[in-house]
Amino acid sequence: MTEPIRLKTPFSDKDVERLKIGDRVLLNGVIYTGRDAAHKRLSDLLKEGKELPFDIRGQIIYYVGPTPAKPGQVFGSAGPTTSYRMDAYAPALIEKGLKGMIGKGMRSDAVKEAMKKHQAVYFAATGGAGALLAKKVKKAEVVAYEDLGPEAIRRLEVEDLPVIVINDVRGNDLYIEGEKRYRQG
């Protein structure tokens, strides 16, 4: 297995183009959190032609709703949630310049098409490894929708957050390829 690639955010088109399915990536820099309810609100803003609460160009959204941080902890347990629930909202955000998403589980054809067209990638973090992933978050602050509690949009500074490329800009899908490789009978 090849060594992980260390990447800084925000991403340029060039950063995204070099990634291919199965690549292990260690993310460094700022990423944003957002899941079901926050996506609904972002989508409503776009529909109304309004500004988003943060500049989405080149950014990465992590689909996560953390546990509350314990005293002394920067961030609570923070593994990915299942991504298909964000499929309805993701293409519009990709069109606006979103370059990466972190979650778990397969994306819809519409999301994959948008990633190909606008140069974006989809990463998986290990679902259920919340305690381990939390340690990679060095700073966290709410930037929008505090009323949503665990679903609020947070700006995170991460160090070596381990993720794997599931969908690249060429339309490949690790879930499909991986299953094919190991299927028997």
Partner: protein, 279 residues
């Protein structure tokens, strides 16, 4: 008649909520070890090792194994010679969940189905009560995550579908779930009873320790056969490809109506959390 104050139930439920969410059972850790030995995908082995490391951090630092600390599903076996005093059992359990999720810094994940407004304290809990002989109370808390629950199904098969129908349905369900329920999963299967009881059996089957045999040899064989088929699918740890799609299949069965053949499949993620206490 033995008297038990419900305050004790609140206290125990509180502790069990926190313990279950931070301390993964030895049976699950041993199942990870067996899977690491067998897994052919290098990426799959990495994932399984990561899950072990995650469980170690959670246990050492008393933090949640997974951010989805689940719906609090509480199984009560209440001895018929017990007299509960000091308040209602349901409210006592809810209070225990409230305190456990607050004091344990666990995520509150329960909301109104339409408005999606969070109830704020992870209540209500789901309570399954069984009256049994004796003067003891057994409390089991099994937090259930949403991702794997969403992949679960109940289906009313036709009696002519037979055992082959069960096998096909369960394997197909795991296949269609793909990477969504955080594989490697544990597949709870309820066969027979009625529509709602099949689902209950599937959920209850998940409480059996991993690596243990089904006491019914016929079901034990069926578990083995279904697991073998599932692990040929190639989905693997986290759906990235590999041999370990599921760690186990657990079946509970009871008689059903002559016209019916109910089947429930309750998918459980690898964070198979449950803790129990006997009062």
């Amino acid at each position: 008649m033995r008297e038990i104050d419900v305050k004790l139930i609140t206290e125990k439920v509180r502790d069990l909520c926190m313990e279950a969410n931070t301390d993964l059972g030895e049976d699950v850790l041993e199942a990870f070890d067996r899977a690491i030995q067998k897994e052919e995908s290098p990426l799959g082995v990495e994932i399984l090792k990561e899950l072990k490391e995650n469980a170690r951090i959670a246990r050492d630092e008393r933090v949640a194994i997974c951010q989805d600390t689940g719906f609090a599903v509480v199984f009560i076996e209440l001895g018929q010679d017990v007299h509960l005093v000091g308040g209602g059992m349901k409210e006592a359990i809810f209070e225990g969940v409230r305190q456990g999720y607050r004091d344990g810094y666990l995520r509150k994940s329960i909301c109104h189905p339409f408005t999606r407004a969070n109830t704020g304290d992870n209540t209500p809990a789901i309570i399954h009560t069984e009256i049994i002989p004796g003067d003891q109370v057994k409390i089991t808390v099994a937090p259930k995550g949403g991702g794997s629950e969403n992949m679960s199904r109940v289906v009313m098969l036709t009696p002519s579908d037979g055992i082959e129908g069960i096998k096909q349905y369960v394997v197909q369900r795991v296949k269609e779930s793909g990477s969504n329920p955080c594989p490697p999963t544990i597949v709870g299967v309820g066969i027979g009873g009625t529509f709602e009881l099949a689902a209950f059996l599937a959920k209850k089957s998940l409480l059996r320790p991993l690596g243990s045999k089904n006491p019914d040899p016929e079901l034990d064989q069926l578990e083995f056969e279904i697991l073998t088929e599932i692990n040929k699918l190639g989905i693997g740890p986290q759906g990235l490809g590999g041999r370990t799609t599921s760690l186990a299949v657990h079946i509970l069965m009871m008689p059903c109506h002559i016209a019916s053949f109910p089947l429930a499949v309750n998918i459980q993620c690898h964070a198979q959390r449950h803790k129990e206490v006997i009062l």
